[in-house]
């Protein structure tokens, strides 16, 4: 059994798509909080402190902003120049920040796990031509930047460009840009030759990848969908939604509410649980050696 994050990019992507969409669509702070904890757990051990500082600052800022612009709500806490700060607006702000912070945390791990080749694999399923385009762009950008700094250095060290006044600096940039355009066009011809010499132009192109959709990847996707259906059904039926304005209404307890909380928790903690399972298994295996 492999962990959620090790499975096929298609299943990883569907996990993120489902989790992020539900987190963003739900107005229930329980769902949001669970999602945030699950996301933070996924990022544990990767720049934890730096991300925490960033997200706490963001969280506080967003939570403060809502009551400053929104006066709806019945319970006024205090007044600033006749402007009411209401309890409902404060709580709504906290809930919205929870949801945004959770989404940001999911994207932190998304960008770590979905490397260029995984994204190319996904696009390769859609269109091999787009996949090739992305692959060559990924290669082109660092090449372009290196060429830029090389050519800028060459111009300055030869005394053709002067790096002193603003006008001269601007002239230098224009000259370098002109070099880059000529050079990139020229390089493009060589690349095109190299592609055509290897048979490019066939309409039935495929996209190669080492990833393969195996049975457990499909099982994972089915699990995500089943867990998500319960939560989505609960959200759609309104039985877990919080009302903030004019006064806060907490949803009544119901079997569906508990079921959806449990399913949602299972979904967002699945990556962490499978990861922990793997660690324990390795410990056990190593101890037997």
């Amino acid at each position: 059994m492999r962990t959620v994050m090790q499975s096929n990019p298609l299943s990883v992507f569907s996990f993120y798509a489902i989790v992020v969409c539900i987190t963003a669509a739900s107005s229930s702070p329980v769902i949001q909080l669970l999602s945030l904890i699950g996301a933070v757990a996924c990022n544990f051990g990767y720049n934890t402190a730096k991300k925490a500082v960033f997200s706490i600052v963001l969280f506080v800022l967003m939570a403060i902003l809502n009551p400053l612009f929104n006066t709806s709500g019945a319970t006024a806490l205090f007044f600033i120049n006749d402007f009411a700060i209401t309890l409902e607006a404060v709580l709504y702000g906290v809930s919205a920040s929870l949801s945004i912070t959770a989404v940001i945390y999911w994207f932190f791990s998304f960008s770590r796990i979905m490397t260029g080749e995984k994204i190319i694999y996904l696009f390769g399923k859609l269109s091999p031509h787009i996949a090739l385009l992305i692959s060559s762009v990924i290669r082109f950008v660092p090449m372009f930047l290196r060429l830029y700094s090389q050519s800028r250095k060459a111009q300055i060290c030869m005394g053709i460009c002067k790096n002193d006044t603003v006008i001269n600096k601007l002239k230098c940039e224009i000259r370098v840009l002109s070099v880059m355009i000529t050079r990139c066009t020229e390089n493009g011809i060589i690349t095109a030759d190299s592609m055509e010499a290897r048979g490019y132009g066939n309409i039935n192109r495929t996209c190669f990848s080492f990833y393969k959709l195996r049975l457990y990847d499909i099982i994972y996707i089915i699990i995500y969908v089943l867990l998500a259906i319960v939560t989505v059904f609960a959200i759609a039926s309104g039985c877990i939604s919080f009302e903030y304005y004019p006064t806060i209404t907490v949803p009544k307890a119901s079997p569906l509410m508990y079921a959806s909380y449990i399913c949602w928790a299972a979904l967002v903690f699945l990556p962490t649980l499978t990861q922990a399972g793997k660690e324990i298994k390795w410990k056990y295996l190593l101890s037997r050696i």
Binding site: E117, A154, S194, R198, G201
Partner: protein, 527 residues
């Protein structure tokens, strides 16, 4: 069995008035190894591209090329530009994807190619992180993956350093030997191929010769513009009329000299030159690293270049040669040590260093920004003082002139403001012998006009031709700082082929010209 036949091929580019190829006829058999030689601009690339139907240049083509339905793969000289994808395995898969091959077959093919070409360690790497030599191996592997019958290579090693060159050429021989794949290769550096090749093709717009290697060497030595491309021992052989097996390698050359020539006169009399006392570049205890925790690229380097001297700094890849030049030119800063230019500390120049020091980059195409050579030369104050005549190419695009001319053009632009100190970063990289000689010539002329030249190079023959003094940069230090003759005499590996051939027989002979001169003075042995 014939797999490729070219008959009366004449080709003219649409924008050109004269033909680039005239009346070319030859045929290639299965599994042959063919070396194509010719001057730059002699139509080598045009001919090789014509052989590959999918990339044959457009233009007026007369005559026939019959490829007999065989598969032809093509690899060119630019390691960076001919790679398409970001990862090595994706690059290998590229040709297979174009054929819409099923995934399992693709994996099998990639596994095979990765094993044969030794790519297992770098299969998942970014193509961008590879060295030039590795990139060329990837390019060849991804061309070979479709199992072609003919592999066409256009100067595959010209952008590589000597060690990577050697490695790539032996790989190309392996492809021919073990896969029985026909190889057609054009190359400046033919020495390691001559003993192996089946046939030679000499091209200078017209077909000069096509046939066995021995005949090819004879034809080459009788054709002045191409003579310089020959290995040193063959060039010596071609100066005399002795009927024997043509020497190709250094070992052959050494035996040839010893067998047929006397050594009564051991060395040529040389006029002692007075060394200038004043120093132009002075470097003391310079330390440099790229990142805070990285290793020192320069580790207490010390160097002194006198005024009016040509100084060549040799050294392996990544030994910090180019870094040192960048530091002297003020593009990078050493974290410790003292650098003086014309007696003044580098820090005191503050922005007007470019009036004294000029650095010519390795890749001179990064310099040109205009459409014609004429416009490029406008940055020079007085172009008439530059000892090269650009008149015939004034209206050409800087990308269309030969590599040697581009190097000279950049040199003219670099010295345009009468800078007295010239820093050159591998000026002969990717050039054929003829152009290398013209650059060496130019450096001598610039020296006569009072310029100081510090040149970084891999090319020991070039250094032997133009340097007054040489040094070896190794592990961040300059060692073996000696006058050129002594430098090459003391070295065992970093030396010229002639120096090895004449070791213990003649003294202080480094170049072909000097060697021929001393051989003529001594005369042939009477049997």
């Amino acid at each position: 069995m014939e797999i490729l036949t070219v008959k009366d091929l004449t080709f003219t580019y649409p924008t050109s008035s004269s033909a680039s190829l005239k009346n070319i006829s030859f045929s290639v058999n299965e599994g042959e190894f063919i070396v194509v030689c010719g001057r730059t601009g002699g139509g080598k690339t045009t001919l090789l591209k014509q052989l590959v139907p999918s990339i044959a240049p457009l233009g007026n083509r007369l005559g026939d090329i019959d490829t007999h339905k065989c598969k032809i793969a093509y690899v060119c000289q630019s390691p960076n530009e001919q790679i398409v994808c970001d990862k090595v395995y994706a690059e290998l898969a590229f040709a297979l994807e174009n054929q819409a091959m099923p995934r399992d077959q693709m994996i099998a093919k990639i596994a095979e190619a990765s094993g044969f070409f030794g790519l297992d360690d770098i299969l998942y790497s970014d193509c961008d992180s590879l060295s030039g030599g590795q990139k060329q191996i990837v390019a060849i592997a991804s061309a070979m993956i479709c199992r072609p019958d003919v592999l066409v290579l256009d100067e595959p090693t010209s952008r590589l350093d000597p060690i990577a060159k050697e490695k790539l050429l032996s790989l190309i021989k392996k492809i021919n030997r073990e896969l029985a794949c026909c190889v057609i290769i054009s190359e400046h550096y033919i020495e390691p191929l001559l003993e192996y090749a089946d046939k030679m093709l000499l091209l200078d717009k017209e077909l000069i010769y096509f046939g066995s290697v021995d005949g090819g060497l004879k034809a080459l030595s009788g054709y002045p513009p191409l003579k310089d491309a020959l290995p040193a021992s063959t060039r010596i052989y071609s100066e005399f009329n002795i009927d024997c097996k043509i020497p190709i390698t250094v070992k052959d050359g050494r035996n040839y000299i010893r067998k047929y020539f006397k050594n009564d006169v051991k060395y040529l009399s040389e006029d002692k030159k007075e060394e200038q006392k004043e120093s132009a570049i002075e470097i003391k205890n310079v330390y440099f690293r790229y990142t805070k925790n990285g290793k020192d690229i320069l580790n207490g380097a010390e160097l002194c270049v006198k005024k009016g001297q040509v100084f060549c700094l040799l050294g392996g890849n990544g030994s910090g040669k180019s870094t040192l030049l960048s530091i002297i030119a003020g593009a990078l800063r050493a974290y410790s040590g003292e650098i003086r230019i014309l007696g003044k500390r580098l820090k005191q120049y503050s922005g007007d260093l470019y009036k004294t020091v000029t650095l010519l980059p390795q890749d001179v195409l990064t310099v040109f920004s205009h459409d014609t050579v004429r416009q490029e030369l406008q940055v020079c104050k007085n172009i008439n003082e530059f000892p090269y005549d650009f008149t015939p190419i004034l209206d050409n695009h800087p990308y269309d002139i030969s590599g040697g001319q581009a190097q000279l053009l950049a040199l003219a632009m670099a010295t345009g403001n009468d800078q007295s100190i010239l820093l050159l970063d591998e000026p002969t990289k990717g050039l054929d012998k003829e152009s290398s000689l013209s650059i060496a010539d130019m450096i001598k002329k610039l020296k006569e006009s009072g310029k100081t030249v510090l040149c970084v190079t891999h090319d020991s023959e070039f250094a032997a031709m133009c340097a007054d003094r040489c040094a070896l940069l190794f592990s961040g230090e300059c060692t073996q700082n000696l006058p050129t003759a002594e430098f090459f005499r003391c070295n065992t590996f970093y030396t010229t082929p002639i120096s090895i051939m004449t070791r213990n027989y003649y003294e202080n002979v480094l170049t072909v010209e000097k060697c021929v001169e001393i051989m003529k003075i001594n005369g042939e042995k009477t049997v």
